[in-house]
Symmetry: C2
Subunit: 162 residues, 2 copies
DNA sequence: GTATTATGTCAATGATGCTGACATATTATA
DNA sequence: TATAATATGTCAGCATCATTGACATAATAC
């Protein structure tokens, strides 16, 4: 039986170890997003709004197409959420100067405030986890997370490695 | 400006480092679940079905209430998914012997097959990430993930630490 | 001047979650 | 024994978030 599992999994990682990894991801991600979800619910927003606000805050002036790339959703899905955020004055769209077809996205003051409320909660949580785990652990966390994601996603982290 | 950020974040972790951590979680989780989602879509199932199948497979004979605890959803939400899985012969409910109110959940052969298809994909992905990162990194990953989740979730990992 | 690009919108559909209300066994307790 | 609590299930309604497909407009590229 143990032999069988070793054949199935030739890296000598036990089925149990890998299942634990799967579950670590599940519980950590769920808990990590739960508080934000609660904050957003008060504004009648959902996690999708959070993601848009986060990445627009992270990349001021981002093009709609680039945001779609990052989020990995369709423009129709983004449309409803983005229109809402623009309508309710969390995000402004500025026509691109070099290419006037573009609608470059920026947070408003109101948007920045919400972004900060959401992000700082997650940063606090992560900072505590980092502090408890230590610098070596954080580097290990980074390596495993990068390895677990698709090649295409890793490019988002390459520039920050310089 | 840098001073200000240090006050906000007294652990001497830069805003940038913590944002990167947030994004590592976002991209890794998204990519980690994407393949499974695609497999499930063929069966007209979603991620919720995956989670139920996974945890029933992990804890054969689990009570409905315990499953609800793990998933962190309401019984009404579980009901739709679970009924479907029972109706389509992926899961069987066996009346508890000591307490006949309980409906103890088990995978059928069909359920085990789907569970294996879904889980082994994620295990393969994680095994590759673990191998590339190395044992020290894996331990760091574990520490950070445990620290990022709620206290209540950590108990799911305590028994496996013995 | 035509093709492509960037963006937006309408409509229909499905998955996943929620609250609230109510129902049925079964077990525990006063 | 009568009543309360527990374990589970179900119905109805609602919101969010995603999809596909079709079509539209403005601006840029060839």
């Amino acid at each position: 039986m143990a032999e069988l599992k070793s054949i199935v999994n030739p890296l000598f990682l036990r089925d149990e170890d890998l299942r634990q990894g799967i579950e670590l991801l599940f519980f950590a991600y769920r808990d990590f997003t739960a508080r934000g979800d609660a904050i957003l619910a008060k504004q009648h927003f959902g996690r999708a709004h959070h993601r848009v606000i986060y990445f627009v805050g992270r990349h001021p002036g981002i093009r709609v197409s680039a945001l779609l790339d990052i989020l990995g959703i369709t423009k129709q899905s983004l449309s409803r959420v983005l229109s809402q955020l623009v309508r309710e004055d969390y995000i402004v769209q500025k026509t691109g100067t070099s290419d006037r077809r573009q609608r470059l996205l920026h947070l408003t003051e109101k948007g920045r405030a919400l972004e900060h409320e959401l992000t700082s909660e997650q940063q606090t949580r992560l900072a505590a986890a980092y502090k408890d785990a230590g610098a070596v652990a954080v580097e290990g966390f980074r390596k495993v997370m990068l390895g677990a994601m698709d090649m295409g996603s890793r490019k988002h982290f390459q520039t920050s490695e310089k």
